[in-house]
Symmetry: C2
C-alpha cells in the first residue's frame, strides 16, 4: 500500500451563513485547500465528498457531481459518501483507501452541510434520519433524547455528574475562544451550562452541539507527490471504520459505543501507536456526554472514569491529551457532513504548528474520531508528522 499524506487543508468559518449556499461553502473550503497544497486543480484526480442530508436540507442530491461542478473540477470522478454525522470521516477514509491502493495519486476529501435553510424542527427530524427511523424517530426520539438516555445510564452506572458534563462544554468553549473559525468563540462557566435551558434531561442547551453551516477540505497525496510538493506533510498512519446496530436499544450496552472501540483499536494497531503517543485529539462531542464516552471508548481512560478525568482537567489544552482544541462539535460547530474533515484540518494545523493561540506544544501524533448517529458508525484516523 502507498503511504498517504495530507498536503493542504481548508475550511470555512463555521456558523450561520445566510449569504452562502452549499456549493459556495464547499468551493471556498476546496479552493483554500488546493491553494495551500500549492498544486494546480488539474493535478487532482478525484473527489470524495461527505454530506449527510442535502436531500432534506436543501432539496439537492447528486452531491458528488455538484462538488466537482462547484469547484470547477469536472470531469474527474467525484463520489459522495454518507454515514450521517460521520460522513466527513468516511470521506477521509474512502479517499485514503483510493490513494493507498494506488487508484489515484492526488484527491480531495471534503465535507459540507448547509443546515440553516430549513426550520429548526425540520433540522431535528432530518438529523433523526441518523438513527432508526422506524423504531426511534417514529416513536418520538430525537438525538438529544437518545443521548440523554446514554447520559442518565452513565450517571447511574458510574456516578458521572451533570457538573462533569458541563466541564466538557467549559473546556471546549475555552478552546473555541482561541479559534477564529469557531461558531461560538466565547467562554462559558459551569454555572452558565448548569443554568441553561433543559433540552432533554439531564442535557441542557450548553451540553448540545449547535446547528451549523460549513465546509472543510483536505488534499491527500501519495508519498511521491507529497514529498515533491509539500514541506510539512501530515501522514495518515492509521484508519479504522466500524459499524453497529442502527438503533440504540439493540446494543449490548448504551454507554459503550462498540463501533468507536473497534475503529480506534484498528486505527491504532495500523499506526502502531499507544494512547501515550497521542498528544492531541478531536473527538465526537455532539453532546458533552458523547465526549466522555468517546474518551473512554478510545481508551484514554477506563470506562466510567471519563467524567472525573474531565473534572481533573486531563483533556484541557496542553495537559495530558489536548482534546477538541478546535472547540469541538460543541463550540466550533457541527455542520454534520463537514465535521469529520474539520477534525482532520484541526489536527493538521496542530501537527504543523499552525494552530495559533490554541497550539499544543510538541504535538507530533494526533487522533480524529467521528461518530454517526448514536454510534452505528465510527471512524478513527491517526495523523502523524512522520510517515510510517
Amino acid at each position: 500500500m502507498e503511504k498517504v499524506a495530507i498536503i493542504g487543508v481548508g475550511m470555512t468559518k463555521f456558523g450561520e451563513h445566510w449569504d452562502k449556499g452549499l456549493r459556495q461553502l464547499i468551493a471556498e473550503a476546496g479552493a483554500m485547500a488546493v491553494n495551500e497544497a500549492g498544486i494546480d486543480g488539474k493535478d487532482i484526480q478525484a473527489i470524495y465528498g461527505g454530506n449527510m442530508s442535502a436531500g432534506r436540507f436543501i432539496g439537492q442530491e447528486h452531491i458528488g457531481a455538484l462538488i466537482a461542478d462547484a469547484i470547477g473540477l469536472t470531469p474527474i470522478p467525484s463520489t459522495r459518501v454518507e454515514a450521517a454525522c460521520a460522513s466527513g470521516g468516511l470521506a477521509l477514509r474512502e479517499a485514503y483507501i483510493s490513494v493507498a491502493g494506488g487508484t489515484y495519486d492526488v484527491v480531495v476529501a471534503g465535507g459540507v452541510e448547509k443546515m440553516t435553510d430549513v426550520y429548526t424542527e425540520q433540522v431535528s427530524m432530518t438529523l433523526g434520519g441518523a438513527g432508526d427511523q422506524e423504531w426511534e424517530v417514529f416513536h418520538g426520539a430525537t438525538f438529544p433524547s437518545l443521548y440523554a438516555l446514554i447520559a442518565k445510564r452513565h450517571m447511574h452506572d458510574y456516578g458521572t455528574t451533570e457538573e462533569q458534563m458541563a466541564r466538557v462544554a467549559v473546556k471546549n468553549h475555552s478552546n473555541a475562544a482561541k479559534n477564529p473559525l469557531a461558531q461560538f468563540p466565547f467562554e462559558v462557566t459551569i454555572e452558565d451550562v448548569m443554568g441553561s435551558t433543559k433540552v432533554a434531561e439531564p442535557l441542557k442547551v450548553l451540553d448540545c452541539s449547535p446547528i451549523t453551516d460549513g465546509a472543510a477540505a483536505v488534499i491527500l497525496a501519495n508519498e511521491r507527490i507529497a514529498r515533491k510538493v509539500c514541506e510539512d506533510p501530515v501522514w495518515i498512519i492509521g484508519s479504522g471504520h466500524a459499524t453497529d446496530t442502527l438503533a440504540l436499544h439493540d446494543r449490548r450496552s448504551i454507554t459503550t459505543l462498540d463501533a468507536s472501540v473497534l475503529a480506534a483499536k484498528k486505527a491504532m494497531a495500523q499506526a502502531k501507536v499507544t494512547h501515550k503517543d497521542i498528544k492531541v485529539a478531536e473527538v465526537h462531542d455532539c453532546f458533552t456526554i458523547a465526549e466522555i464516552c468517546a474518551l473512554e471508548d478510545i481508551g484514554f481512560v477506563k470506562k466510567g472514569e471519563g467524567g472525573k478525568a474531565e473534572e481533573d482537567g486531563m483533556f484541557d489544552l496542553n495537559s495530558t491529551v489536548s482534546v477538541n482544541t478546535s472547540g469541538g462539535l460543541k463550540a466550533c460547530g457541527h455542520p454534520v457532513g463537514a465535521t469529520g474533515i474539520k477534525q482532520a484540518v484541526e489536527i493538521s494545523w496542530q501537527l504543523r504548528g499552525r494552530a495559533g493561540k490554541r497550539q499544543v506544544s510538541n504535538a507530533d501524533i494526533g487522533l480524529a474520531h467521528n461518530v454517526g448517529g448514536s454510534g452505528a458508525t465510527a471512524l478513527v484516523h491517526i495523523l502523524s508528522r512522520e510517515a510510517k
Copy 2:
C-alpha cells in the same frame, strides 16, 4: 493492482413492494448474493451500498450502517455512496477500488431504493434532486422535461423520430417479458407507445422508466479468493467514472453526455477491448431517448445514428449487441439506487449462461453503463468471463 471478480449476485423482484421496506429489500438481495457466492457472512470484510434518496423517500439516512445491520454484518465497515440514479454503479466502482487496491479481499456492493412509500408528486420532486435544484427544479423542470429537451434537440439535429424512440421501449419490454424479476414483463407495440399518455412532449408514458422498489447485490473478491471459491467468476476488467455540470443548460451539447463518453473510453481502455468485443450491454435507458444517446456516447454507433440503428434492430436480443436484456430501466424497473448493481447482476447472468429465455449466445464480454441525473455522473464497467 489486484484482479477483481464478481463471485455471487442477487436481486429482488423489481416492482411495488407494499409488504417490504428498504431493509427487507437489501437483506433479501444481499442474502441471495452471499448464498450464491458460497461464502460465509464472516468472510465479508466491507459493504458498499448505493442509495439515492432514502432521506426523502423514507426519512432515513445512515444507509451504510442500516445495510450492515439489516444483513447482520455489523461491525464491518459499511459505506453508502450516492450519485443520484448512478448510485449503484458508483457503489460497484468504490467496492472495486477497495479490492483492487488491496484494502479488502471480499466485499459486498449493493444498491437499494424504496420509492413507493410517498406520493408520486413527491417522487418527482425527490428525483429532481438529481438535477440542479437551484436552476432547474426551482423553475419547474422535472426529469421527463429535461429528457424531453434532449429528445427534441436530437430530433432536430439528427432526424430521430418518435417511432424510433418507441422502438427502444418495444425492444426492452420484449426482453423484460423473458425476465421473471422485471417490473413490467409484457410486450408492447410501437402503436402502444405512440398512443400512450403524453408526459412531456415528445415523451409519452411508455418512453419513461417507472417508479420502482428493489435491491440488488454482488459479491466482489480478489483473484486468490475468487479462484478458490467460485467456478465461474465474472471479472471486472474495466471501470470508468466521470462527471459533468449538474445542470443540463451548462453543457456544450445537450445530446451528447460527455461523462458517458469519457467513462466509456476509460473503462474500455483499461479493459483493452473494442466495441466489437462487447456482445451484451446494459445501458441507462431512464427514457427511450437516453438509450439512443447512450449507445452513441459509448460509441456503438456514430452520434445521430442511434435512432436508425434501433429501428434496424441492431440492439435486439442476439443481434449485433444485445442491449438491455434485463428489460432495462424502462421495463425491468428503476429503483434508482439499485439500478447500477442490477446491471452488473444481469451482465453476470449473461456471461455465466444463466439468463434463461433472454440468454445471449456466446456472451463473453459485457458492458454496464449507469447515468446520474441528466448526465452529471456516468459510470461504465466492463465485465468478462476471462481475467485480464
